[in-house]
Amino acid sequence: MQSLASFLNMGGHGGFVWGAWGLAALVIGGLTWSSLRSLRAREAEIAALEAASPHRRPAGDGETS
């Protein structure tokens, strides 16, 4: 059973190993966050546009024509 300190130390290369994994977490988290945020923003935009023109039929979302 290795101790937490030696686990974090990674044989003296902790900075490299945790740096790489930290960046991976940032990239995965960042992509997820920005993609979901942009989807929410577009949904809100569509809702606002549809509310502004109530005479238009409420088409299924994403329909362009």
Partner: protein, 245 residues
């Protein structure tokens, strides 16, 4: 078959159904793969603990190539058959591919320093991946460079196709040139030259990254379709105001 999903409303329904099937397995595989990669797998007999960088570096590199290849394929479909979702999917994929390529380059650098003694070398593998990163950036810049989105997407699609020549160059760079970068240990004619204790977490991360890409692609395509619809609604509003006024 492809044409069936040309209808955005139908695509949206399909995306809605598929999303959890990609997102949850992706999360489970990445979480499980991380545990095996960081805790349960052994250190390498030559590289020690730094081999744990491999479990993010190699899947990120595979994604960099996979996403670019799918982008080039979608661009070809868009240019040849004018499928309405093809360019949209290529544009939705580009930032994800660029992010994976960036992750590959930086984690490679963090692995290179302790193993080779250098953050960066102008070796064929590293240089060709750096070019891939610039191709992604060029694709995104070109897509957004025109007032007419259709012109932007066609120009970017041509760039994606021309840049596709770089994909086999990256793949075979470690065989064609004498590189500092090590050759492939997994994708070999003779089968993987890597022990199961390392291969299993590596494949878990790789499949996890792939499913994560698919889930994200669906989310981004949905957002792009909504943006297209918002543009159409705004235009319709402008025309209605002009007609009334």
């Amino acid at each position: 078959m492809i044409q069936r999903f040309a209808n955005p409303a139908r695509f949206n329904r399909l995306a809605h159904t598929l999303l959890p099937w990609f997102a949850w397995p992706a999360a489970a595989l990445i979480a499980g793969g991380s545990y095996f990669a960081l805790v349960a797998s052994p250190p390498d007999y030559q590289q020690g603990e730094t081999v744990r960088i491999m479990y993010v570096h190699v899947p990120a590199a595979w994604m960099a190539l996979f996403v670019y290849s799918s982008m080039a394929l979608a661009s070809a479909v868009g240019l040849i058959w004018k499928h309405p979702l093809a360019h949209l999917s290529a544009q939705a994929a580009a930032p994800i591919g660029a992010a994976f390529t960036f992750l590959c380059l930086v984690t490679g650098s963090l692995w290179g320093k302790p193993m080779w003694g250098a953050w960066w070398v102008w070796d064929a593998r590293l240089t060709s991946v750096l070019i891939l990163f610039f191709l992604y950036l060029g694709f995104m810049a070109l897509s957004a460079a025109f007032d007419d989105p259709a012109r932007g997407e066609r120009s970017a699609a041509v760039l994606a196709l021309v840049g596709a020549i770089n994909v086999p160059i990256i793949k075979f760079s470690v065989e064609w040139w004498n590189t500092l970068h090590q050759p492939s240990s997994v994708v070999k004619m003779s089968g993987p030259a890597i022990h199961a204790s390392m291969l299993v977490p590596l494949m878990m991360m790789a499949i996890g990254f792939t499913l994560f890409f698919m889930a994200l692609l669906l989310v981004r395509m949905r957002a792009a379709l909504l943006a297209r619809r918002a543009r159409a609604l705004t235009m319709a509003g402008v025309h209605a105001a002009q007609a009334a006024g």
